[in-house]
């Protein structure tokens, strides 16, 4: 039983980071109807910025802030300079997939060119070797911190979306763009805020994943795909869905790794995607997806 709780806790702590990634993906999909394939790469480049800042002896908080700013700036810049233009010209789905993939490839190239392809480790103030034991369950500081970051991040997003005027504008814009424009909401600004917030959430996940994984140009690929899986599981249109989907995925993955086979831990997520899409394409908490071929 203790090992069961151990797996559940590990799963929740991993799931909370998937949650941050998934929230970003859902936020962007809801507001601009774009699947952002560059989501992981934006987080990668921002985490590398934090790495550089830390190796220049800046404090951790300064590095964290800088990387959040860089991530958000990349997201906003891409939206304003490329995507908004393409959408105004009526780009189709394939076009938008191509655009975000293009951004992903460019960022990958820049990271490899500037920081090199060799894995480095991010100096992190919270260690994963210092642990507490609660009723037989071993809890490392790092996993506790990731859980905290996940909860804090989603709480802040909840407050932004549900409790502020800006959030109201965001919801209106994603509900009906034309009507929002007619009502005088500066939709371009609101949508770029969505892109910035989504990218920043991804960056937080990147920073907290970096100490567990080594930092290399592709280190966010796997968490990004998991976040994707979580978003699909919960429903691509639903922010609470992303939270539920990510936590379920994290726990399911950890239990599979513990009780079945460690090899299939990573494959599970993609099995889940395919099954969910076949059985209930709108996801656990999603609505709206009524269109069948």
């Amino acid at each position: 039983m203790t090992s069961f709780f151990q797996y559940v806790f590990t799963g929740l702590s991993a799931g909370s980071l998937y949650m941050l990634v998934a929230l970003g993906i859902v936020l962007i999909y809801r507001s601009t109807r774009v699947l952002n394939f560059a989501h992981g790469d934006i987080a990668t480049v921002a985490t590398f910025v934090a790495f550089s800042a830390l190796s220049h002896k800046y404090s951790f908080l300064a590095a964290f802030g800088a990387s959040l700013a860089v991530g958000a700036a990349v997201g906003v810049a891409f939206y304003l300079s490329v995507l908004a233009r393409a959408q105004r010209e009526g780009a189709n789905l394939l076009g938008m997939v191509i655009l975000t993939l293009g951004l992903a490839l460019i960022i990958q190239g820049v990271v490899i060119w500037y920081w090199g392809a060799d894995p480095v480790s991010l100096p992190f103030p919270i260690s994963d070797t210092r642990t507490y034991t609660v009723g037989g369950v071993v809890i490392s500081q790092l996993s506790l911190a990731s859980l905290g970051a996940g909860i804090l991040g989603s709480l802040l997003l909840y407050l932004l979306v549900q409790k502020t005027r800006l959030g109201l504008a965001m919801r209106a814009t994603s509900e009906n763009l034309m009507a929002a424009q007619t009502l005088g909401i500066p939709t371009r600004l609101v949508l770029s805020v969505s892109w910035g917030a989504a990218s920043a959430l991804g960056v937080v996940a990147g920073i907290f994943l970096a100490p567990a994984l080594l930092l290399d140009p592709f280190f966010m690929l796997d968490p990004f795909l998991k976040g994707f899986a979580a978003a699909v599981l919960g429903g691509l249109n639903s922010l609470p869905g992303a939270v539920v989907g990510a936590l379920v995925l994290g726990v399911a993955e950890s239990l599979t790794g513990g009780y079945l086979a460690i090899h299939f831990k990573n494959t599970l997520a993609f099995g889940i995607i395919i099954v969910v899409l076949l059985v209930r394409p709108e996801g656990l908490l999603g609505k709206e997806f009524k269109e069948r071929v």
């Binding site: 699947l35 293009g102 490839l105 993609f270 395919i274 076949l278």
Partner: protein, 326 residues
Amino acid sequence: MDLIESYREDLRFARRPIARVLLALLVAGLVALPWFAPDHLVFLATLVALYSIGVMGQNLLIGYTGQISFAQAAFLAIGAFTFGHLRIWGLPFPLALAGAGALAALVGVLVGFPSLRLKGPYLAIATLGFGVAVYQVFVNFEALSGGRTGLAIAKLKPMFGLSAAHTQYYVYLLLVTAFTLVTYNLVSSYVGRAFVAIRDADLAAEVNGVNLTRYKLLAFAVSSFYTGVHGALYAQVLGHIDPQIFNLLESLTLFVAVVVGGIASIEGSILGALFVIAVPKLLADYRELVPIIYGLGILLVLMFEPLGLYGGWLKTRLYFRNWPFR
């Protein structure tokens, strides 16, 4: 000018005399290539030939049928490993190649089933997940992938007194020619028009009598067959395969080739294959710039020349045909 008066004329491969002359020159040049070009250029031409097959297949699926798929690397891996195992069991080259294509096509049909219910972004995610899952299965199952050492594949035997590399080049040239002709015929037949109809308006296509289930699955099967053959031919060229080769980047490379070459165009597929082979070679000393060029390539194509390199060629041709008028 260039007025097409009958369906028969529309199907003609090269309509104008000058096009025929250019095509004949191109074919003659490709056949004679090993006599005047150094060996590494012949090798590059071999790579372009085999990539053209895979890119054509993906173009049938993405460009003609409009189904966005990111499972290319999975089909490459299935083709390559099937081919490797069949060769090790002692099957001759053509049979192993057909087997690789057939198995890939079969799996392609299985992947195609979600496409009957999923549209657009959802299909892209499902195929992306499938691609990564297949990659991980190959990495984790040593019986399939030959473990850490991978599979070694015997080289083609030299024929007709040619060197091994030249034999391989001619075999591949023959194959790519065959695939190009088949693809031309496919897209100008009922099947090809059904694919395009599904892309442009699937509901209207169904109302007009296109069986959506059959033609979507067919598009997946055909494109996976091409990609499986590409994987097998790639394995033959490398002589040694391990699952690490068939990662997500390889899927993206094929996708970039389709987009940069020209969506829904066969000539574009070949140009796209040339692009993804030539760019890493030209930037051999600056490998890290390759993804940047790919990314910029697809961004620029989408923003300024939606038909890709082939669209550029069409415009150039039109310019010279109308010269000195504009």
